[in-house]
Structures are given as C-alpha cells and as structure tokens.
Subunit: 545 residues, 2 copies
C-alpha cells in the first residue's frame, strides 16, 4: 500500500486505550487457575499433552526482569477489521517487555509457516498499519497445518527461527489448528508457544471464554450503514424490494445485529429456519405473504435481509448440500474427469435419492452450477458463491405471478438484489475493534512470555469500560468437540450459533411482526471515529444484551 | 420514519454554516445583471416570455419590510443526499423573511402538484429531517409536467393554494420542466415563481453557473468508502477480481471522482469509450490485457470500476440501444402485444439491420432481456437494470479461457460482481452537502421573494470557504439546448460530461497506466462528521481542480 487517505493517516496516530492490567507489563503476573479435567476421552486421546492445562488470569505482581522474546505471527482465513492492531499490540508488548524482542510476520497465511517465508515487522512497518483495515501487512491464506508432513514443516520453521512463540490469528478452524500444532510441538519437544487469537466477522467464535470475536463490530456496522441507507432509499423511492444478502455462513449473528441496528421489514435467521425445518417453499411463502400484506396498504417496497448461510439451513437444500459435499469428496476423481457440465449434472443426479434429485432439479440452472463449484480447503460448499438473494427473487416473482392470477396479489414487484460482503471485511476498524485487538495482542504476548502453549488470547468483561476488561489465557482444548467432517471424526471448536431462546433473538422476535407492516427504518450511518462517545465508543448490541 | 440512530439524532442538531451574504436576509438586495439575448431561435420560440431574463446576484442593501410568502416544494427524480436540507433552508429563510410565511410539501414528486396533494411543513416536521438522508419527508417521483392537461392541472394547484413560489428540486429533466412550467405560468398570467434547485448524484448537472449539483459529494464518498474497503480486501486476499459497477448514466463523474479517491487498477470512463468509438471486444481486451500483465507478476486480483452508463457508450451497443429506444417507441403497440419472449425477440430482430442483429445476438440472453425491459418515463433504457459488470465478467472469462489455451495467460481468475447503487443516494449527507443544500434553500427563497420565475438557485465559488460562496439566480433558459428525444425535438439542459481535455481527466490519465500494475490502493473510509477539518470539510476533488 503506497497511498493513504487523510482518514487513514489520521487513524495511524490513534492510540487505543488499554485495560488497566495491561498498562504496565513489567509488574504483571500470571495466575494458573485450578485445572479442570474434561471427560471427553476421544479428545483426550488427541491431546494427551495439553488436555489438562489450566486457565490463566493475570494480576499485578512484583517488578520482574525480562528476556527478549522472538515471536512469529500469522493471519489465517478471511479478513476481519482489527487484524493489524493485534499485530501492533504484539509488537508494542514485545518491545515493552524487552527492546530486543523480535516480531516476525509469516507471509500469506499458514503457507508462510510451511515455506518459512517471513519478514521482520519493524517499527516502521507496524507504524504504517496501526488502526488500518485489511490483512495486507503480511497477507493471509487458508492453508491448514494438519498432515504429518505439514506439522513437521512447521516444526522445522519455528526451530530454524528459534521462535519463543507462534501467534495464529484466525477463526474456529485456524484456532483448532493452533491446538493441534501446540499438541504436536509438545509431543516432539519443541518449546515454541502456540497462541490463538479469536478472529471472525461472522461472530460465531464465541463461548464462555470469548465475549466476541474481533472484526464483528466493524463489519456489522459497515453492513448496517449500507442497509440503513437502502432502507432510506426504499422509503423515499417507494418502488423497490431490496433483497440484501449478508456475510455469515454458519451463524446469522451479522444479520441479527444489523436487523436490530436498522429495523428492516423481514430478516431470516438461519438457525430459526433450521430449527423449524423450513422448506424453500415456506421461505418464499413468508416473503410473498409479507409483500401481499404490504400491497394491501399500498406499500410496494421493502427490505429483506438474507444471511449467506440461509441456503444451507433450508431443510431440503441443507441435506442436498451435505450429500453433495460427501459425493464430491468420495467421487472426486470420477467427477473431475467429467468435463461437460451436463455429464457432471447427470452423474451427480444418478447418485442422489429421488427426493434429493427433485430438490436439485427444482433449482434454477445457475444455482445448480453454484452448488457444484469447487469447495474451499475445509471441504465446504462456498456458500458465498451461491446467490441466494437472486434465487429468492426468482421464486418470489414466480409465486407473485401465480397470486396475481388468482386475484390475491394486486401490487407491482420491482426487486433489487444486493450483497453486503467484501467491503465489510477490510474496512477501517471501529474504535472498539482497534482497542479490543490491540489488547488481544498484549495478552497473546503475555501468554508467550508465560511459556504456555495451545492457549487462546482472551479478554472478558468487554461490555464494561475498557479499564476493567479482563485479560485471560484459555486452553483451546477447552473449546473443542468432535464433529464429522468429510466423513472423518475431527476435533473442532464449537461454533456459537444464534440462541433462539436468548434475549437478543427474543428482542428481535418481539418486534418483527410490527416491522413487516409499519416501517420503523433506522439509519445508523457511517462509523464515526471522533466526536461524542455515544457515536464513537459503541459496542455491538449482541455484546451488551 | 419512527426510529433514529444516535448518529441521526446527533445530525439533527448540526447547524450548517451559511455564506456571509445569506446570514441576514433582512438586508439582502437583488442585482438584475445585464441580460444577454441568446441566438437560438428554436428556443426563443418555446420561451417567448422568459428567454430574455437577466442573471440575478445579491448584495447587502437597506433593511426592508417583508410580507409573508407561501411556497410549495417538490422533490423530483432519484434521491440525492441533501434534499431535506434544501427544504430546511427554504423553511428557515421563509420564516426569517416573515414568521407567517408558509411552506407546503407536495407528496410523491410532481404527481403531488398535479393531484394537489401536499402537507404543511411545520417546524416539527422540518426539525425531524435536518441533515438527514433520503427524500422520505415528502417522497419523490418521476412524473413529468409537460402535456397541456398537466400544465393546466399544475396551474390550478398553485392558484388554489395561492402560492408565491413553487420550488422544484431535481435533475436536468426536472429543471427543464421547471423552465417550461415557468414559461406557461407567465403566458397564462399566473404569478407563482417557479424556481429549480440542481440535484443529482451523477454530477452531470454542471455548467458555467452550477459548480456542482448537490448529492454528488456524499454519493461519491459513500461509493469511495466501499471501493476503498474492497481494494484493501483484494490486496489482502489476493485472489479476486472485483468488477464494481457505479451509478452514473450519462456521465462518468462518479467513477472518475471515486477513481481519484481510491486508485483502482482499471476504470472505464464512458465519455472516453464513446470518443474513441471503442467496441465491446476492445473493452474486454483492455481488461484481459491488464489481467495477463498482472498475472505475469503473479498478481491474480484487482479492482475494475464500471460506470453504469458504460454499456450505452460502447459504440455498437449504444447504437443498438438507440435503435431499440426508437423501435420500442414507434412499434410499442405491436411489441407489447407479443407476450412470448421469443416472439418479442424475433420481431425486434426482424426490425434491426444485420449488424445490429449481430450485436444483439452476441449478447448473453440475460442482457438481451435487460435491454428490452420497460423504459423509464423519459423513454430511456433503464441502464441501471443492465448488469454490465456481469456481462463483462462473462466475456472476460471466455476470452481468458481462449488466452489460456493459447498459452498466453497462466493465471487463475475469480471474479466478483458488485453494484454501488442505491446506498449512495440516501446516505446521511456530508457536511459539504448539508451546507450547500441549506444555502440553496435560502437562495431559492430569495428568488421567490424577488418575484422572478424560471430561475435556478445557484451558488458559485464553492471551492472557496463557505463565507465567500456566491448566491445567484440563473434563468434556466440559459442552460437549455434542443435535442432529439423519442423522435421529437425537445429543449433540454445540456448534460455536463467528463471533459477529456480537462485537468481532472488528465490527472487520472497521467497515473492510470501505473495503477494497472502497481497497486496504489487508497481507502478513504467512512464519511466523518466531527473531528479535524481535513476529514470533515472535504469538498469533491472534481470541484477543486
């Protein structure tokens, strides 16, 4: 990056506030809390070295002598605003501990660890990325480190570089990887601490130890700005139905947060659709019922939010995708050998049950193609490539035509598809994300200094004022469970889904019927960095409830 | 609108600064400048009553007694940030002139004038829309007032309401309408002043009297925020080519402004494509050539800006669209009678020359459908419905496949389409648009008070500090020329297009080759309302050059 906008330059100088405990690292001491032995024997087998580690908290202790540390950091997976601040926090904390500490950045994600390609992150580098969006300081990637050869390559790298710590900034999969790598290092006697940092705009990396993942706050505010503007436009033009797809694959936290920030007419929450086992026909029916109700009041416009994971949560489509995931995995050679789309289609159909085939063939051709596209490296359908908003528009148009012929619907329907996606992943981080990430970098450094491994850098009490945020180290193992992926049993971090019994969903559920008919649109506007605190120091709603 | 976000509430209290001359309306006096007789006889014939009116400037005069005024205001056409502030300016100026002045708002655009549906805009109404985005205070619409029956209905309304003034906030077409209405009122002896206000996010309503139309600043900044974020994301993920379509039908000002704010890899300027008579094949070639050059440097990502009007400016497509415009107009009954798409297609093709038919058939089916969709009320193809970004992706994919087979291209191509559209029209207006619009409302009020008609409210010297902005009234007639539309000669306001010889385009032209290869990405970030002036009081670049 060569050019900076005035706002980027201004943000370079922003100094994030730190929790009280992190303000003087020379007097901080670690508490090793009483360890709890978990009962899952399958997990214990996989993590014999690290399964019984204690939670770590911090307190003020005596002034101590410190030695320089050498730490490597890697960004893994999709961008999330604040990643650069985790690295800045690491750097500042390392230098505070000892001026001769060194921070290396592995290039282009975990691949940089395997290939041992890194750069030293000097003050000059760090200072040009403070409080900036993107992951472009060192790049990111989706390579996993899990095969024996990969684990060995990683070991060689950290040994060659004589790293005290390896900090992996990533989502649930990457942090699971961190736990596996930590266990492996322990087994082979490598002393490098492996520390994870919870990143994902989706908000599904959340549990009793993680209040929220970083990036969610900024991304939800960027999407809410766009949705709020579109709501205003819909209300002014009075002629379009906007179908807005939002990022959020497994969980609909972004859709729910944005909904409560903006009050659109209809919002789908994938978790609810899955729980109610709703079919595609029912989803379409929900939309057309609302459109008919509004048409009776002479309202021929509206805004509908669609989480990108909705498609998978629809009963019959979810089952189909899972079947396709398995088929494409187990029959991959055969399928890749078929070059003509029709042959591929026919072969796939021959492997489906008649119900599955019916579902598959009822989808428009483009959507079928999207379902058969290349998987990501975790073997998942690339849900973001499925244009659910356009699929729904087609089906709604068809249904409205039918309802018009029957005399039930008398309106005009002008749909507009929209995708709130990539622009939310790399925006300038909000003050909250700047501060949270900076502190996460400090905590990660302290964990490396403590010599522990397989831990996640955490901060609890995020809903309280920053001074009181509570730094912690939590064994990643504590967040794991066994899941079936690509036909294999795998340990993964439990994804946090929208809790349909929780207060946040209930708040939404209590107003949504009203939103369908009475426009209660709200426009949050662009993220503000300066000005009154009620505009600049705003935490995610889902954190506060 | 029932709900307000904290930022919306904060903005309600923002007090726009006024140019010095407008700060005390009790001592302002109008100068009627020497009138210039223009030579276009066809125009003179259409505007016998108003063609010789002088430009009006303002100066400090003696304190004067004023009588209450009754004014109606209407929003016409697409939303542009700042519209509510024009109305707030009208209201405050009217009340300053005389507390008993009354402001009425016509509902849902010019249709509200024809149907005489209006509401009184009281302080309470105005105070809930100050500095807010959207046109939802009174709605907007695209009805034109031009037939004898419509002109008469408008006359009846302003007479019934005994309006001293009718303020039409709109783009080039709406302001042309304002001139026609003013001429008609003069001819029939109606004394209501008709005053236009220059609105359009496209930036093409600009001439020696209009420095810039309102809304352009905010819209370009909202789009630039999104583009800047996507650039950061492209640079971080290093795997996507983003094809971003931007609003801007006739002119590419938005694309050019955003380009200079963000520095993407490739930007099409419709005016240049038209001047060079570039074909679709050449456009695709420009893109694939860049992709191949970048692939050689192992860069498989990038960002391309596409103004929505590009499709029309491509030589053979533009000719085709014009032909279709004429065909659909002159054969409308026949074509509307054909219900089956194929029959419609075949009939259209039978009316085209063989070259036109070839061009038409070379387009993907979806694009052909989009070209035959309903026109807008001005008889134009609804260019925003043509998904040029997706058309280009398809054609680029095809061409890259060919280049790959020939061994010329060795990269991977993952395209992502994006449309920066509706969210830019109704965002919270920037401080610049808030101030500019508020002052435009004041000037419009002064013109009504002066008793003139067929004028545009203007402010010159916008690039200077606000105190020195120079209020003016300019006869709309002075901006008109004769153009052929739907086969008829019509008087219209000259559209301001990107000047390919001007300094602004030249600045871009001097760096664009560099941008193709060296990523010089710049992220302007979200619009800021508070903080240092270099972040909050930022004028459009195209105004400053």
């Amino acid at each position: 990056m060569i050019s900076f906008s005035p706002l980027q330059i201004h943000r370079l100088k922003y100094q994030p506030q730190l929790p009280l405990l992190l303000q003087d690292l020379s007097v901080i001491a670690a508490n090793f809390e009483k360890s709890i032995c978990l009962s899952d024997s399958a997990l214990q087998e996989q993590f014999p070295q690290t399964f019984q580690q204690p939670i770590i908290t911090f307190r003020r202790g005596n002034k101590k002598e410190a030695t320089p540390l050498k730490v490597g950091v890697v960004l893994s997976g999709g961008q999330a605003p604040g990643g650069h601040n985790v690295i800045a926090g690491l750097f500042d904390a390392l230098k505070q501990i000892h001026p001769e500490s060194i921070l290396l950045g592995f290039l282009d994600g975990p691949l940089g660890i395997l290939k041992n390609t890194s750069i030293e992150l000097t003050k000059m580098v760090i200072d040009s990325y403070r409080n900036q969006g993107g992951f472009d300081m060192i790049g990111s990637g989706r390579t996993k480190i899990e095969t024996p050869a990969q684990l060995e390559a990683a070991m060689l790298t950290v040994q060659t570089l004589a790293l005290d710590g390896l900090v992996i900034i990533g989502g649930d999969d990457s942090n699971t990887n961190a736990a596996i790598l930590a266990e492996y290092f322990k087994q082979v006697g490598v002393k490098t601490s492996v520390i994870g940092v919870p990143k994902t705009i989706d908000g599904d990396l959340k549990n009793e130890f993680i209040d929220i993942s970083f990036g969610f706050d900024t991304a939800s505010k960027i999407y809410a700005e766009c949705i709020g503007n579109i709501l205003k436009d819909a209300l002014s033009a009075k002629k379009y139905y906007h179908f807005i797809k939002l990022m959020g694959r497994s969980a609909s936290h972004l859709a729910l947060e944005c909904a409560l920030l903006t009050h659109p007419n209809l919002v789908f929450i994938s978790e609810e659709v899955a729980e109610k086992k709703q079919t595609l026909q029912e989803i379409v029916g929900q939309i057309t019922t609302m459109i008919c109700k509004r048409a009776e009041k002479n309202l021929h416009y509206g805004v509908i939010l669609i989480p990108e994971g909705l498609i998978e949560s629809i009963s019959e489509i979810g089952a189909l995708i899972q079947k396709l995931n398995e088929l494409l995995f187990s029959h991959s050679e055969k399928i890749e050998g078929l070059l003509i789309t029709e042959e591929k289609d026919n072969y796939i159909i021959s492997q489906l049950t008649s119900n599955e085939a019916k579902t598959f063939l009822a989808l428009p051709k483009e959507v079928r193609d999207q379902l058969l596209l290349e998987r990501d490296s975790h073997g998942n359908v690339q849900v973001s490539k499925i244009e659910t908003e356009r699929l729904l528009i087609k089906l709604v148009e068809k249904e409205l035509k039918r309802l018009k012929q029957e005399g039930i619907y008398k309106g005009t329907f002008s749909p507009q598809p929209q995708f709130c996606g990539y622009e939310g992943r790399s925006g300038l981080p909000s003050n909250f994300d700047c501060q949270y990430c900076y502190a996460l970098g400090f905590v990660a450094t302290l964990l490396v200094q403590s010599g522990v491994t397989g831990y996640m850098s955490c901060l609890k009490k995020l809903s309280e004022p920053i001074e009181r945020w509570s730094p912690m180290g939590v064994p990643i193992y504590r967040m794991l469970q066994i899941e079936k992926r690509q036909g294999k049993q795998k340990s993964v971090i439990r994804k946090f889904l929208v809790d349909l019994q929780g207060p946040f969903f209930k708040q939404y559920a209590s107003v949504r019927d009203q939103w369908q008919i009475t426009d209660d649109y709200r426009s949050p506007g662009p993220i503000q960095f300066e000005g009154p605190k009620n505009l600049t120091e705003v935490k995610p709603l889902s954190l506060l409830l």
